[in-house]
Structure formats: C-alpha cells, structure tokens
Symmetry: C2
C-alpha cells in the first residue's frame, strides 16, 4: 500500500517538499475550502488511508495545523476542525485591524514604484474578476490585494502574523463574497485605499482600512448568526 508514492527528484533540489508539508497543505486547504467542516473529527488512520501515506506525516501535519489554530487537539481524543465563535472572530479581527493599520503606515512610507504597480494591478485583477470569477478566484484576488500592501510594509513577521490571522477567517469570508453588493463595495474600497496609499496619506488609508474590515466583520457576524 502507498507504494505508488515516489519522491520527486527535480533538477532544483529546493522545491522538495516533505510529505508532512504536502499533507499539511492539503488538509489546510480542505478546511479553508469548507470541505472539512468545523467540529469534524480528523482521524489519523482514515486520513492516512485516504491520502495514501502512513500515520507519521499525518500526525506531524496535525501538530502544525494545531498551532495554526485550524485544528483543535484534545489529548487522547484526537483532532477536530476548529470552531470559530463570535468572540473568536471579534478577537481575530481586532488584532488584524491593528496590524493592518501598521502595515499601511509602513507601506505609505516605504512603498516603491514597483510595489505600487503590483498593488494597482492586484486591485484591477479583482475588479476584472467580479463578473465572471468563481468565489475562490475572487477570494484569492482579494487576498493578493492585501498581500501587496503587507509586502510593501517590509516586515516579515508582520506578513506572517497577518497571513495567519487571515487564515482563521478565510472560511467565513467566502460567505461575505457571495453577496453581490459586497463585491461592488470591495472594489470601491480597494480603489480608494490604493489611491490613498499612492498619495502617502496615512490617516486616510488607515481610516479606509478600518471601515473595510469593519464591513467584513459585520457581514461575517451576520452569516455566522444565521447558522
């Protein structure tokens, strides 16, 4: 069993990915995409069989998912997909608002022309996807926009923390994007933020970012309460 798994020996040895990371990415994606639902049990043996690997890489991937906050471990009982309570959502977004504020401030000071071009094109990509794009594509484009700001801030740790915070609410943000008027609003907000950052108007950009995230908070809260 699982003997069909062979290691990739690519020319560039740098793109070698341990199996545990393949598993990690795979389960992570499944949780973010909603295929694995909150509360669902994640059993080592079942997962191992489904992915054609042994328990070892599954267990190691689980440790990382645990620290990422996507999975909750109960000793001797196993892992389950983490729930996001209303209070959790508020906590996450509160932190994210504070850090996005920092990111914008830093970006306004340090952003290069090349980085601005990237931000602008991310904004345009998002707009272009509105009519035809799938939910996943839209979510990805929205992420790319924010990532462009984070990267321009030039702080690796900030990038990493924001990445993790966004991951927490990814599952629920999809709900937000389902509504037509949310999307239109997002386009407008992206535009305004892009302009504010270009003109290095820190206060304006921060204010817009705050409103942007507050809108998201309300929408997600609403969709959580409905369930």
């Amino acid at each position: 069993m699982a003997s069909n798994i062979t290691y990739e020996h690519s020319d560039d040895p740098n793109d070698y990915l341990p199996l545990r990371d393949v598993v990690f990415n795979s389960i992570r994606k499944a949780i973010l995409m909603g295929e694995l639902k909150p509360g669902e049990r994640l059993m080592e043996i079942a997962l191992a069989e489904r992915m054609g690997v042994s328990r070892t890489p599954i267990r190691e991937a689980m440790r990382k998912l645990e620290l990422e906050g996507l999975v909750v471990m109960i000793p001797r009982k196993g892992a389950q997909v983490a729930h996001l309570t209303e209070s959790d959502l508020n906590d996450v977004l509160e932190v994210r608002i504070a850090l996005e504020k920092l990111a914008i401030e830093k970006a306004c000071f340090r952003m290069t022309d090349a980085e601005y071009i990237e931000l602008l094109s991310a904004s345009e990509d998002f707009e272009r996807l509105i009519p035809t794009g799938s939910l996943e594509e839209l979510a990805q484009a929205d992420e790319d926009f924010h990532e462009a700001i984070y990267r321009a801030a030039g702080n690796k740790r900030l990038l990493q923390v924001l990445h993790n915070l966004r991951e927490q609410i990814y599952r629920y943000r999809i709900e937000y994007l389902k509504e037509e008027r949310s999307r239109e609003l997002l386009v407008k907000e992206h535009h305004e933020m892009t302009n504010a950052i270009k003109s290095r108007d820190v206060a304006k950009a921060q204010e817009l970012s705050f409103a942007h995230l507050e809108n998201q908070r309300k929408a997600i809260l609403h969709s959580i309460r409905q369930k």
Copy 2:
C-alpha cells in the same frame, strides 16, 4: 530501552500531557535559556536518547517549534536553533509595539478591579525581586507584569500572538536585564504604566509602553551588535 517510561495516571485526567508536549516544553525552555544556542543542530536521535524517548515525540515537537519560530527546518538536513538577525528583532518589536498599544487601549477600557490588583502586585513583585532575584526570576516577573495587561485586554488571540512575539526575543532580553540601571528604569516604567492604566489614561499609557519597548529594542540591539 526507555521502557522505564510509564504513563502518569493522575486523579485529575486533565493534567495529562502528551510526551510530545513534554519534549516541546523542554526543548523550548532550553532554547530560551540559551542552553541550546542559535545555529546549533538538533538531531532527532541524539535528542531522543538524551531524553529517553523515541524519535516520534521528538519529531512532532519539532514541528511545533518550527511554527513557533524557535527552530528552523531545512528539508533533509534537519533542524537548528533559529538565529535572530537585527532585522528580525526590529520586525518583531515593531509588531509587538503595535499590539501592546492595542492591549493597553483595551485594558484601559475593560480592566476590572481584580485585574488591577493583579497588575499592581505583579509590578510590586518585580520591584521586590530587583535586589535578590536571579535573572530568570526577574525575566519571569517582567513577563508576568505584561501578561497581566494582556489578560486584562480580554482578547485571547491578542494574548496568544503577543506571547509568541515575546518568546522570539526572550533569549536576548536576558542580556538587557543583566544591567543594573536597566532594572531601575524598568521599575519606574512599570509604576508609571500601572498608574496610567488605573486612571484610564490611554494616551499616556500607550506612550509609556512605546518608550518601554523602544528602550528594550536599543538595549538588545546593542547587545546583539557586540557579539
């Protein structure tokens, strides 16, 4: 071998700790205490033998240390204790300053009397330890003081992120505490912050916190550069 390891069946089943977490805590502490130095290789077999366990819990602990940022994994080469570059330190402290600012704001709004008592007593404990306390005790007391603020902020995610950020620089903060005048300054700053928070003076408390962390940044930078 290692068959002398038996599971603890305590009356309270809640204090059961998986071996992987024992290992995790143990290695984590060794890194923070400086017993394991930056760049040092962490070899599974050696660690396993030294701790009297098999490779499995070692490997799983390593995954968590990796995500915590205390250990750097290089595929197929193994794990080593993470280095903290000057740029890393700046990044970490920049984020921490932003989040401590948030914590103080929230604490000023929500702090209960009981929480204030805790903060005050943490501040007093620190002061009391100045003459007699060891470096570890002082570091712990300083942590407790900040934790008291974080907890009063009433945001679990904020607490968690700040905890991790502090861990990153713990190793180097010890250097800071070695100097006599740093300690005196810390006592003063703790006092002033406690008072500002008590009188719910957000701006004042935030300003003090900023200065507090900036002092730390300069001192740590200095000690890093000396090496």
